[in-house]
Symmetry: C2
Subunit: 150 residues, 2 copies
DNA sequence: ATGGTTGCAAACGCTTTGCATAACG
DNA sequence: CGTTATGCAAAGCGTTTGCAACCAT
């Protein structure tokens, strides 16, 4: 349940990112690399503003608009994903696999939770009967994390 | 999977609303009743603007700010709930029990799905080990509804 | 040279707020 | 009467966009 990633994890993520970007024809400019790096570093599903603030130190000229544009573009390219908006601010994440989100009501921490779907008998019935066709699930669980509960 | 409610359903919902409002000391002004009624009428989890537009016909003087304030207030009082935001617009619903939301990627329809939680072995382990404490689940399923799939 | 990327500032859309008026108990 | 709700317009906030400068091929 750590909030930041180890160096080893980061190395793997960044390498995969560069490879996939090259394959997709996505230029890896210093700004894009920095944004992806900062996003990957944090497990906390940061807001765009948080990423911008963190990067401004090392990249004083960086513009907030660039961070917005970069994240939108990387999402279109399938290199990052939108995370659920807890407070009406845009959040992103680098995890691309299916997973749920645990949100601490107290401190706002957002943790990834492996998801083993099939919780909705009604929904399964609908699928079987051809009523709906499923594409994606987004599960958000609210509660209190270890640090915040009594 | 109907989008509007029957008269009988509406009658029950409105009566319950009035009772609960009285018990909570919430004034049932014409505007508040109208907003609740319009919200209850639609299963589609309307946006604030949609409710406002629908009511303006019968209440020409109604203000959008009042609709926003009313819904926020009713939510604080536990009489309505925020629905998941599909398009960064505020949505509300009258259903108070636990349920998931099925969202049609094509037409934007939002359907309620009874929820039988327990889909996350990892989460259950965390609860057992005292790592987290659960309060509420919000499950959004994206896909295509009957009318939109092939 | 040329297409794509960036920074800045202005614009945008949704939501909230300040204030005077009106409604309610 | 005093309190609370309403309507209107203005402000607020997060996000997007237009444009000129810039960069890399």
């Amino acid at each position: 349940m750590d909030r930041v990633r180890t160096e080893m994890e980061m190395k793997g993520l960044l390498e995969t990112f560069q490879e996939r970007a090259r394959a997709l024809g996505v230029k890896t400019t210093p700004q894009r690399l920095a944004v992806y790096r900062e996003l990957a570093l944090r497990r906390g599903h940061p807001t765009v503003e948080e990423i911008y603030q963190a990067l401004k130190r090392e990249m004083p000229g960086l513009s907030l608009a660039t961070v917005y544009r970069t994240l939108r573009y990387l999402e279109e390219m399938g290199l990052v994903r939108k995370a659920p908006s807890i407070d009406d601010k845009m959040r992103y994440e680098v995890e691309l696999g299916a997973h749920a989100h645990f949100v601490c009501r107290n401190c706002g921490a957002i943790l990834d939770v492996p998801l083993d779907c099939g919780a909705c008998p009604q929904l399964q019935r609908w699928v079987e009967e051809g009523e709906v066709e499923l594409e994606e699930c987004q599960l958000i669980i609210y509660g209190l994390c270890k640090g915040c509960k009594g």
